[in-house]
């Protein structure tokens, strides 16, 4: 391409006609220079972000309100936060209008850019095309920040996102929005793979699912949650009937297909049908959350749960069960959510079996599950339950094992909602006091003393340990170790005492022996008697009879 004079009237260059994302298709100014596909993706992404932001905003509001409420409830009630909380809601009320306004400015902007395009001189025919393109992108990014575009609330966020967009655009990836919905993509791909193995029925299933998702996207705005549920359930019903009758599938294979269909459809629809605005699910979620938080003082003994958390394996299982029930919220497919509940139940069963040494009956299981739910306080519990009830394949929910555990979870939630003094075997007064936070079943005075410090009175330490077992398994473990340690030190003391005693005994024995020896020595003093001076043969009587000694005879000679 050669350089052309700038004043040649309206000229639109080839590169400018192409989609800005660099996907190779022609773009359109009405779609901000993108091709239809990229534009749709972009728009979708923006919408999702908007929804998320609204969510975050709502949550922030909620938090503020809570803080205000808490401080107003507290003993030193500050008048400050209350009006603030009251002042914030108008913001929320404004959002629909601001959205509308955004749409309007968006429209206006689109027109402006179109016009601008026609009159702007084409300077993008430099030899270093890539570089210029990059610059151009950045430029556009900057321009985007100053016009209230359809995406962003705060300018800084817009800046960051735009810059990132420009940056990534440089690497000429066809679409960024794909990354946002990675999971959806993966599930779609899996689904396709699965269907490929089935040939003709597979194609049919795919067609049906696509049509269904499209129809849902068209009508979801004006439908309540129950109608949505009805639609999805009807679709399950019709599709499985069809598979049964047209393709003569066995009930097992149909079930397998329906599982995949459920996974695919619900992953696609999740965002729009989970906790929809038309219901008060969210309000119920918060109510349940508050309720569980208010019941933090309920102990394992009050519920008569047959789990002994002092056994390490049991407390291990309890922790796992809690993790599972919390994890439920992160799953998209109803069946996966159910799987989390089942997993949680299995851990509870293990815990009970270890404690009781026999398989758990429902009499043991339900209280344990209630205890786990109280300890876990799972996020968006009501929404999740409603979502599963509305969109899960009914055959699974009615008779299967998963269905049983799910029903138990529903029971646990219903119990927690209606829980009163009677159901915990407490006096009404006591219950009220615990609920209002005036008293706590843990008795802090006992709790304060560590078993080691309470050395002289081991009973006090034991009581403290027992009462705090319910509070925290880690604390229980700590108490347990401390108790063991104090036991050990006691034994050591005893040993030392024994040793000391032995030493004393030894000393006194030595003393005794010495004294005895002294005594004996004193009683029998050593007398050195002089020996009697006499001839050796004094007593010898026989000597008289001895012949006289021989005398020498002198011979005359």
């Amino acid at each position: 391409m050669s350089q052309k004079p700038e004043r040649r009237g309206i000229h639109v260059d080839q590169s400018e006609l192409l989609c800005k994302k660099g996907c190779g298709y022609y773009g359109n100014a009405a779609w901000q220079g993108l091709c239809s596909k990229c534009w749709r993706e972009e728009y979708q992404r923006a919408k999702e972000r908007q929804i998320q932001e609204d969510w975050a905003f709502a949550e922030k509001l909620q938090r503020e309100e809570e803080v205000a409420y808490a401080s107003s409830q507290g003993p030193s009630s500050q008048p400050g936060p209350q009006p603030q909380a009251q002042a914030t809601p108008p913001h929320a009320a404004l959002t629909p209008f601001s959205k509308f306004e955004e749409k309007k400015t968006n429209e206006k902007m689109r027109k402006v850019t179109t016009v601008k395009k026609f009159f702007s001189p084409s300077t993008r025919i430099a030899p270093k095309k890539g570089l210029v393109e990059r610059e151009d992108r950045t430029l556009r990014a900057w321009r985007g920040i100053f016009s209230p575009s359809w995406e962003m609330g705060s300018p800084t966020e817009a800046l960051v996102a735009r810059l990132r967009e420009g940056h990534e655009g440089k690497t000429s990836s066809p679409s960024i929005s794909r990354q946002a919905s990675l999971e959806t993509d993966r599930v779609s791909k899996d689904f396709m793979e699965f269907l490929k193995t089935m040939q003709r029925p597979g194609r049919e299933i795919h067609k049906q699912c696509r049509a269904f998702i499209e129809s849902m996207a068209n009508k979801k705005q004006d439908l309540g949650a129950d109608e949505l549920s009805e639609c999805v359930q009807d679709f399950y019903q019709n599709l499985s009937d069809r598979l049964m009758s047209h393709f003569k599938g066995s009930s097992e294979s149909v079930e397998r297909v329906m599982d995949q269909v459920e996974k695919y459809i619900m992953t696609r629809l999740y965002k729009s049908v989970f906790c929809p605005e038309t219901t008060d699910d969210e309000k119920k979620d918060l109510a349940t959350q508050h309720r569980i938080r208010a019941l933090h003082w309920v102990t394992i003994e009050m519920l008569c749960v047959s789990m002994d958390e002092e056994i390490p394996e049991v407390s291990d299982n309890v922790v796992k069960a809690i993790t599972d029930v919390i994890e439920m919220d992160s799953k998209r497919v109803p069946r996966d959510k159910l799987a989390c509940i089942t997993q949680c139940s299995k851990h509870i069963f293990s815990a009970i079996k270890i404690t009781k040494k026999e398989p758990a009956s429902a009499d043991d299981f339900l209280p344990a599950l209630i205890y786990i739910v109280l300890k876990a306080n799972p996020p968006r519990l009501q929404s999740n339950i409603q979502y599963i009830t509305r969109f899960c394949n009914p055959s699974r929910l009615m008779t299967g094992e998963d269905g049983y555990y799910f029903t138990n979870l529903c029971c646990a939630v219903a119990f927690i909602e209606k829980l009163d003094a009677q159901s915990l075997n407490l006096d009404t007064d006591e219950f009220e006091r615990y609920m209002s936070g005036q008293a706590s079943p843990r008795r802090p005075t006992d709790d304060g003393g560590w078993p080691l410090e309470a050395g002289p009175s081991p009973q006090g330490g034991a009581a403290a340990a027992a009462s705090s077992v319910a509070v925290n398994p880690a604390l229980a473990q700590l108490h347990h170790s401390l108790e063991q340690l104090s036991g050990l030190s006691e034994r050591q003391d005893r040993l030392m005492e024994g040793a000391r005693g032995l030493q004393e005994e030894l000393v006194s024995w030595e003393e005794g022996v010495r004294r005895e020896v002294q005594h004996i020595l004193e009683r029998y003093p050593l007398e050195v008697r002089p020996p009697p001076a006499s001839a050796i043969d004094t007593e010898n009587a026989e000597t008289d009879r001895l012949p006289p000694p021989l005398t020498p005879q002198v011979f005359a000679g």
């Binding site: 008569c304 398989p359 758990a360 429902a362 299981f365 008779t399 159901s423």
Partner: protein, 235 residues
Amino acid sequence: MASGGGRSSSFKVVLLGEGCVGKTSVVLRYCENKFNDKHITTLQASFLTKKLNITGKRVNLAIWDTAGQERFHALGPIYYRDSNGAILVYDVTDEDSFLKVKNWVKELRKMLGNDICLCIVGNKIDLDKERHVAEEEAESRWEPGHYHTSAKLNKGIEELFLDLCKRMMETAQADERLLKGSGAGQSVPSRRGVQIVDDEPQAAAAGGLLFIWLTHTRTRTHTRIHTIIMPFPLN
């Protein structure tokens, strides 16, 4: 839900009754043929399944144990909705447990009508000497579906479940025939069986609360709406 289709049907059966009457023992005896055994392999005894073959038809039984403690009584409807059968267990040596079963029967009939097959089971007949519930009294009340069992001695349990299965199959078949007879369209979900139960007005008058449950059941061809009204006396 009972899924017909000729090949195999599955039924949901709930176990109701006070704690300690031996609900779990009955089921463990039936599904595992074990009683108070230290070698029971199952992790849990609250959800058990059994596959049966009755006159050439495959039947899947899913047996749901429920928590029997008094404080969980109000949760009953969550358990027993959509069940095809209920086994109500009492202890023949314990009069109170028998009274509770009577209440359960009343409640179930009120809520589910004749959609559910009931079995009343007097368990622990091996302790006949200490019997407190007169056989005649128990017998006279419900002619069909009353059984005496002993999970310990393995008496009457097989019969109980077999009978229940047969009755549930009959009910399911009758249901199907009814649907075919009325020629209800596949596409239009007919909402039949809307029951509004007028429940002991004095309970409400005495300053009680009425809980109204609107549950809806979905079967293969139609939607059913149950209205369950429960008196909830306040004290």
